[in-house]
């Protein structure tokens, strides 16, 4: 029981349940099964992106270019669809393109040794500007997309839309990948103690590279899902959403110093933000509050992480005056 209370995931799950219960007391419609499915489905892109961000942060890096990658691959998907390319080919293309964009980040971190924050701050602008060069700033609207292209993420299967099922499948895949494969364990090792990882025969740079490629591939897939679901593609798609992705990770207990975190935590972090985003209009608060709330959630979560992980050290020098 004590370990359960201490577990970050259990704590977060309780907070989410309490929050939902509080909303349900005033607005019972919020917990109607149909609405809950909506909340989960709205959060699916955030979950997928957060899984990618998690493995990057585990290796002591950060990927601020995820949403720029999403926007670029999404626009590519929309343009390919306009040219009449079949959907399976589009799916393979967006995942490959996302992986390639992630590989650019990864190579700059691995082979050139530039800190990831600088690399991804730069590529974030470059990737997004490339959309402008591709389209001259024009939008691709719903009527320019084929019905099959728009239908896939919305098709309902056993109560949930396909977009949710893709997220569920990826969550299951990652739960196994992180705990049962050599690369999954290497991701933790590289972030937990890079020196020890080197001596254990793990190539630190290569592992970071792999994390960026995976994050890019997931962003690429989300790019298609996002564009097909909202049925519009333009330069500023999901602009600023990268902060929510990092927020989901930090709230889910991923340590920014690397090496600490779990799939369950990240998913709960994403659901936490998803519930807030969907509850705001229900309880009558302007959506303009969203940004400040996720900012506050990041700050509180990181402060909370720090107090939990603080190891009491030996006092060597006594503080004379406060």
């Amino acid at each position: 029981m004590k370990t359960l209370m201490k577990s970050r995931e259990a704590l977060l799950a309780i907070v989410i349940l309490l929050m939902t219960a509080a909303i349900a007391l005033r607005f019972p419609a919020f917990v109607a099964p149909g609405n809950l499915v909506n909340v989960i489905n709205d959060t699916a892109p955030l979950m997928i992106l957060a899984l990618g961000q998690m493995i990057v942060i585990l290796t002591k890096c950060i990927d601020l270019s995820v949403t720029a990658t999403l926007a670029l691959t999404g626009m590519t998907a929309a343009l390919l669809n306009g040219m009449g390319v079949p959907l399976p080919v589009i799916l393979v293309t967006v995942i490959a393109l996302g992986a390639a964009l992630g590989a650019v980040n990864g190579l700059l971190v691995w082979k050139v040794g530039i800190p990831s924050i600088v690399v991804t701050l730069g590529t974030m602008t470059i990737y997004r500007s490339m959309i402008f060069l591709m389209t001259d700033g024009k939008w691709v609207n719903a009527h320019q997309m084929s019905d099959g292209f728009k239908a896939l993420p919305r098709a309902v299967l056993l109560g949930f839309p396909v977009m949710s099922w893709i997220a569920f499948a990826l969550i299951a895949l990652f739960a196994v990948f992180m705990t049962r494969t050599a690369l999954g364990r290497a991701l933790y090792a590289v972030g937990g103690n890079p020196h020890a990882a080197v001596y254990a025969g793990i190539n630190v740079g290569k592992t970071q590279f792999a994390a960026f490629v995976l994050s890019g591939a997931l962003a690429g897939l989300t790019g298609y899902l996002w564009i097909a679901r909202y049925a519009v593609a333009y330069v500023d798609v999901a602009s600023g959403f990268e902060l929510n992705v990092v927020a989901a990770c930090v709230i889910g207990g991923i340590s920014i110093a690397g090496g600490v975190g779990s799939v369950a935590g990240v998913i709960l972090g994403a659901i936490f933000l998803g519930v807030i985003a969907n509850a705001l209009p229900v309880i009558g608060i302007s959506p303009f509050w969203q940004m400040a709330i996720s900012g506050l959630a990041i700050v509180i979560a990181v402060a909370f992480n720090a107090t939990q992980s603080r190891i009491p050290g030996r006092l060597i020098l006594k503080k004379v005056s406060a």
Partner: protein, 329 residues
């Protein structure tokens, strides 16, 4: 994000480089060369370039960003970073708009902007220095928080109708072609040069950037220096907010979006190591001039703004990548 030291032997030269050859090989000399080359290229590219008033206009491209870049340079040298500077501008500008709507005059408006900046810096500083949290996450959080508060106040609205004399900060001229902003930029450059290179505080910043633990043991109040640096960055962001709001004459919550990237690019281009511990104010001044000249030159050639941001992103990555790739060979 940490570098892994490979066990290589240190090569100690028999004698030190002469001051002259060291100066010639420095990053700053390279920047001067680049600046001159861009200046010449620009004057050939457009007949409108070599005009004192056009050049004076061009300085607005970098003065506000450079003021923040000086403080950011010190912060990065000390091994920290502040991603929230553009959001601080948004919040400070919103605060100024609120004060303006309440009917206060120019002095109060300007002071409110600066005070808001200082307060935001103090919040960042408290989280980083007092609670020991990593500055990247803290400022990613406050980046969202500060601009989020602006959105709460403004939504999709804007504050306009600032008093006439408020326009002086962003549009006024001190003497002939010297704008108020250019004068302020020069003053800030001088002040930060003295602070970083000629004061105990500046030395402490370098020591902390190279080895914070050693700094602690040598009696430097590390937390206090870090806190002061965040407040300084907030202060400069507040001043920049006053200038920018005055120049635009309005406040929108999306004001200065993405400016943190330009400020950090300026600092890194100026030769400040992103890992902390080294860099000089002179380099940042030169980087500001170069970025201003390039932006202005692109503008004269009618290059769209978004192409400029591609260039900016490439500039940021290549200025760090190229020296590393050369050194390896």
């Amino acid at each position: 994000m940490t570098q892994i030291a490979s066990p290589t032997t240190r090569n100690i030269p028999d004698r030190l480089q002469s001051p002259l050859s060291r100066a010639l090989r420095s990053w700053e000399t390279l920047l001067v060369g680049v600046a001159i080359a861009i200046f010449i290229a620009n004057s050939f590219a457009s007949p409108y370039f070599l005009n004192v008033w056009n050049l004076s206009d061009a300085t607005f491209n970098f003065t506000e960003k450079a003021m923040i870049a000086f403080a950011m340079a010190m912060l990065i040298i000390a091994g920290e970073i502040d991603l929230s500077v553009a959001s601080i501008i948004a919040l400070a500008s919103t605060a100024m708009g609120l004060v303006m709507q309440a009917g206060f005059g120019t002095p109060v408006i300007a002071l409110t902007g600066i005070a808001t900046g200082v307060l935001c810096g103090a919040i960042n500083g408290t989280f980083v220095a007092r609670f020991g949290l990593p500055s990247i996450v803290v400022t990613i959080g406050t980046m969202s928080l500060f601009r989020g508060i602006s959105y709460i106040f403004l939504g999709d609205q804007a504050f306009t109708g600032y008093p006439k004399d408020f326009a002086f900060f962003g549009q006024g001229y001190v003497w002939w072609v010297i704008s108020f902003e250019l004068a302020l930029f020069t003053l800030a450059a001088l002040a930060f040069y003295l602070l970083l290179h000629r004061s105990n505080f500046g030395r402490a910043v370098y020591v902390i950037g190279n080895n914070a633990t050693a700094a602690q043991f040598s009696g430097i109040r590390v937390a206090r220096v870090r806190f002061t640096l965040f407040v300084l960055t907030g202060l400069m962001s507040g001043i920049a907010a006053v200038c920018l709001t005055s120049r635009l004459g309005s406040t929108r919550p999306s004001i200065a979006t993405g400016m943190e990237l330009e400020v950090i690019t300026m600092v890194v281009l100026g030769g400040v190591s992103i890992l902390g511990g080294s860099g000089r104010i002179l380099g940042v001044v030169l980087a500001a001039l170069i970025m201003g000249l390039v932006t202005f030159g692109f503008g004269l050639l009618n290059v769209p703004g978004i192409v400029m941001s591609i260039f900016l992103g490439l500039l940021l990555i290549s200025t760090i990548a190229i020296p590393r790739l050369i050194r390896r060979k």
